[in-house]
């Protein structure tokens, strides 16, 4: 029998009562549980070592070997699985597409991975009520393709939009480039159907666009990373697709000037639909990946996008160019839709692109999601530069500067233990700098286990205690995604 306990546990404060899990470790009980799971979901349950390994991790460095992988198709199946897990005190780790970057879907206490990506029906597109009802496994891009003919869209747009699921987005309160104008996933969740830790099924909201009825359970479950319940259905607010978009590319000598320009644009009353910074290294990587890409590679680049009616976007784009001109090395408005699409496509996938330039290096997602108040961005960039230079770790810096979010891409030779060690130190220092600057260790990727150690400092001991009380009330046996959020 393999080890049920995770081979990687950094929280040091495991909530799960390990001794109770030991109860299920006998071969007899394990095979009995598999039989029960097969009875619930048919062939969509597995305890094969190959499948368990394939579900051991998301896109982060956090790993844990599950005992079972189950792919439910309905709320009823989820409820029955959770009841079974509750009875046998089996840890349950819900998972969408496994694109997370914090270990949220990594089963660090073993047990069962609940792969929700097969619950992928778009149940209703209700234009009259400005909402869509979906199952959690629906992929973001697929939802938007379905909404497009109606002239609507669901705005939160992570770089992984082609793959990530709505359930995973809600669980991590994901966002993306357009959230500077449209807000994060949280702003779009109207109602959730949730299976609780004892198998009961509740709804947290309604179809009304606003509601004032006691504790806001919808917001509580949003961003809870599967630690309080399993989301099986969501009602999402949708908004009209803008008719036109314009992109302004402004290149600056350094990040300090770039941020000044961004602040000036905002203070002139323009809210861009995206406002991204790409540092020199990032621009160089993009250019080397696609030499046809018309971006400068000798400065820090800001991409301003404005959306809305044709006339207003033309005016706003020109206004932005005018504001930036005195400060910028170069400013221009993208000439065609095709050019805009090419730039955004490259930007979305830049995170992993470094391996195309240097095959010996792999981008490791650690210290990659910090955020600070926008005015602190130049300071953050300077300090990140100092940290990575001192530790001799190459870094790209890019991100949603419009909401103070900086993605630091560190890349190393993963066969070199010394580089790993320096990477861990760099990531830790970057997280601490963000906290010192009054910011956050995660703006959109979540805490999981990767950032759990910063929770006491991030939210404070008393607030963390409140979170633990909520967890205890909703999941008294601690079976739901144990080991996460520093609980």
């Amino acid at each position: 029998m393999h080890q049920l306990l995770a081979f990687l546990s950094a929280s040091g404060n495991a909530y799960i009562d390990v001794s109770s899990i030991e109860l299920i470790k006998s071969q007899r009980n394990m095979s009995g549980i598999l039989e029960d799971l097969l009875e619930i979901v048919g062939s969509r349950a597995s305890s094969s070592i190959v499948e368990r390994r394939c579900y051991a991790a998301d896109a982060s460095q956090i790993e844990g070997l599950p005992d079972f992988v189950v792919r439910p198709k309905s709320t009823n199946e989820v409820s029955r699985i959770i009841r079974l897990c509750s009875k046998h005190l089996i840890p349950v780790t819900p998972r969408g597409a496994g694109t997370g970057l914090s270990g949220g879907a990594s089963p660090v206490k073993g047990g069962l991975v609940l792969d929700m990506s097969g619950m992928d029906r778009i149940i209703d597109i209700d234009i009259a009520n400005l909402q869509a009802i979906v199952e959690p496994g629906v992929v973001q891009e697929r939802l938007n393709l379905a909404l497009k003919p109606y002239g609507f869209f669901f705005p939160p747009d992570p770089g992984s939009s082609a793959v990530c699921t709505i359930g995973g987005m809600i669980s991590h309160n994901s966002s993306g480039m357009r959230c500077v104008k449209y807000g994060t996933t949280r702003s779009y969740v109207l109602d959730l159907e949730v299976v609780l830790a004892d198998g009961r099924v509740i709804h947290t909201g309604s179809k009304a666009l606003k509601s004032a009825v006691g504790y806001d359970l919808t917001r509580l479950f949003t961003g809870s990373e599967g630690t309080l319940g399993v989301i099986t259905r969501a009602g999402l607010k949708i908004v009209p697709l803008p008719r036109s978009r314009r992109l302004v590319l402004a290149c600056f000598e350094d990040a300090v000037v770039a941020v000044q320009a961004v602040l000036k644009v905002f203070s002139c009353g323009i809210t861009p639909s995206a406002c991204e910074i790409l540092d020199k290294t990032t621009c160089q990587v993009l250019r080397r990946c696609d030499p046809k890409l018309a971006i400068p590679d000798d400065g820090d680049l800001i991409l301003f996008e404005v959306d809305g009616h044709e006339n207003s976007t033309v005016k706003e784009a020109l206004h932005i160019a005018e504001i930036c001109s005195p400060m910028a090395l170069d400013v221009r408005v993208a000439t065609s839709q095709q050019e805009m699409d090419a730039i955004w496509a490259a930007r979305r996938l830049v995170g992993a692109a470094v391996a195309k330039i240097d095959p010996a290096k792999t981008r490791i997602y650690m210290g990659e999601d910090v955020g600070v108040p926008m005015s602190q961005i130049p300071d953050l960039i300077k300090r990140v530069q100092h940290i990575t230079a001192k530790l001799d770790i190459p870094a790209m810096k890019y991100g949603h500067i419009g909401d103070g979010n900086l993605h630091v891409a560190l890349f190393i030779d993963v066969m070199n233990e010394d580089q790993w060690e320096r990477l861990r130190i760099a990531a830790d220092r970057i997280h601490k700098v963000a906290l010192q600057l009054g910011g956050t260790v995660s703006t959109e990727h979540g805490i999981g286990l990767a950032r759990a150690q910063y929770m006491p400092e991030q939210v404070g001991q008393d607030a963390l205690q409140v979170m633990r009380s909520i967890k205890k009330a909703l999941d008294p046996n601690g079976i739901l995604n144990p080991g996460k959020l520093g609980l």
């Binding site: 394939c54 992988v69 496994g98 082609a162 792999t362």
Partner: protein, 359 residues
């Protein structure tokens, strides 16, 4: 035994950052839904093998359910060369005698008979009644196993089209080795046998109508020959073919080993448009979905293979007379998935336009 690190290239494996982008395109994953049937999962399995994971039936199913279509490679932000990784992992297992029954059977057929079907009859039986072959020529038509034994009319039509350009055949053509290479076996014996004959004939250009043969001859054979696909050759000589315009609309399915692997997208379209109207499939060129037949999947996992083919057929636009492609394996799989005789080879279309073949 060779150390595992010698064969499983950990550096290449480590390019994968587990971002999961491959989930959005992998055709096998689309049907099966398990991570083990997706590229990211397969790479995790390879890492597992390097860590000592026992290569059991589930490992084989994971690695062997990949058609090596390469669509994940085209969509991989980290630039992982997935077909190469999959083939090297299969090689690693085969070198230890670990393989599925289907792999064992197909390799036995090829090693014993020189073709993928284990056929004992004469490979060029379709040539009977035609003029004697030239013993030396600049041009060789490499027929391939599928057209030699299953689509002999297409072989004959191709030969008839190419004959006026002076092509000849290899007197003792053997399987090109593609199925062996894709499934992890050593194909040197076959490659050497074919290359020896090419040299004897004095060939400089090898022309083939099979996408699998094409990529193998081009990328796995020793340099020294120009390898040309039939669509490329026809496009180069389009003005010499005396094509009649046909009142038809057809669609074109890009074979993965011609399209994504070798970037042959425009030449078949050029030939089709010289003959009739072309209506594109929903996903085409570099985004074309795999027919499900390649990489040994048709022989090892027939149900999965046909499911992928049925999904590909949903991309066919309304109102077309034929689905044209340029790979006999794609033809076979799409036909078996329900398209029947509506799937034809590009050569069959051209033969109608030259009057060589009646509709």
């Amino acid at each position: 035994m060779e150390s595992i690190d010698m064969i499983l290239d950990l550096k290449a494996i480590n390019r994968c950052v587990r971002c999961g982008n491959c989930r959005s395109v992998c055709p096998a994953f689309e049907e099966l839904g398990w991570e083990s049937a997706n590229t990211r999962g397969r790479i995790m399995v390879m890492r597992g093998l390097a860590d000592g994971l026992k290569a059991d039936a589930d490992v084989l199913d994971s690695l062997n359910s990949c058609t090596t279509c390469g669509i994940c490679t085209d969509n991989c932000p980290a630039g992982a060369d997935v077909p190469d990784l999959i083939e090297s992992a299969r090689r690693h297992l085969v070198s230890q005698g670990i393989m599925t029954e289907a792999q064992e059977r197909l390799s036995r057929y090829i090693f014993n008979s020189g073709n993928t079907f284990g056929e004992q009859k004469e490979r060029a039986a379709w040539l009977r009644g035609r003029s004697r072959l030239k013993e030396s020529s600049d041009f060789v038509y490499f027929v391939g196993c599928m057209n030699s034994y299953r689509y002999t009319e297409t072989a004959a039509r191709t030969y008839d089209l190419l004959r006026c350009f002076g092509v000849t055949l290899l007197p003792e053509e053997k399987c090109c080795g593609s199925p062996l290479l894709r499934m992890g076996f050593d194909a040197r014996k076959l490659v050497n046998a074919n290359v020896r004959q090419m040299k004897q004939i004095g060939a400089r250009t090898i022309i083939t109508g099979c996408a699998g043969c094409y990529t193998t001859l081009k990328n796995n054979y020793p340099a020294g020959f120009r390898v040309v696909s039939v669509p490329e050759f026809l496009a180069e000589h389009i003005s010499e073919l005396n094509l009649k315009r046909l009142d038809l609309t057809v669609t074109y399915h890009d074979p993965c080993h011609l399209g994504r692997h070798n970037k042959i997208y425009e030449q078949p379209r050029q030939v089709i448009e010289a003959v009739c109207k072309l209506a594109e499939m929903k996903d085409n060129r570099q985004n074309a979905r795999c027919c499900g037949g390649g990489g040994g999947v048709r022989s090892g996992y027939r149900d999965l293979s046909l499911k992928m083919a049925r999904r590909r057929l949903k991309d066919v636009p309304e109102g077309v007379n034929w689905i044209v492609t340029s790979c006999p394996l794609c033809i076979r799989n799409l036909r078996d998935a329900g398209a029947g005789s509506s799937v034809i080879d590009l050569v069959d279309l051209v033969a109608i336009a030259t009057g060589q073949h009646q509709e």
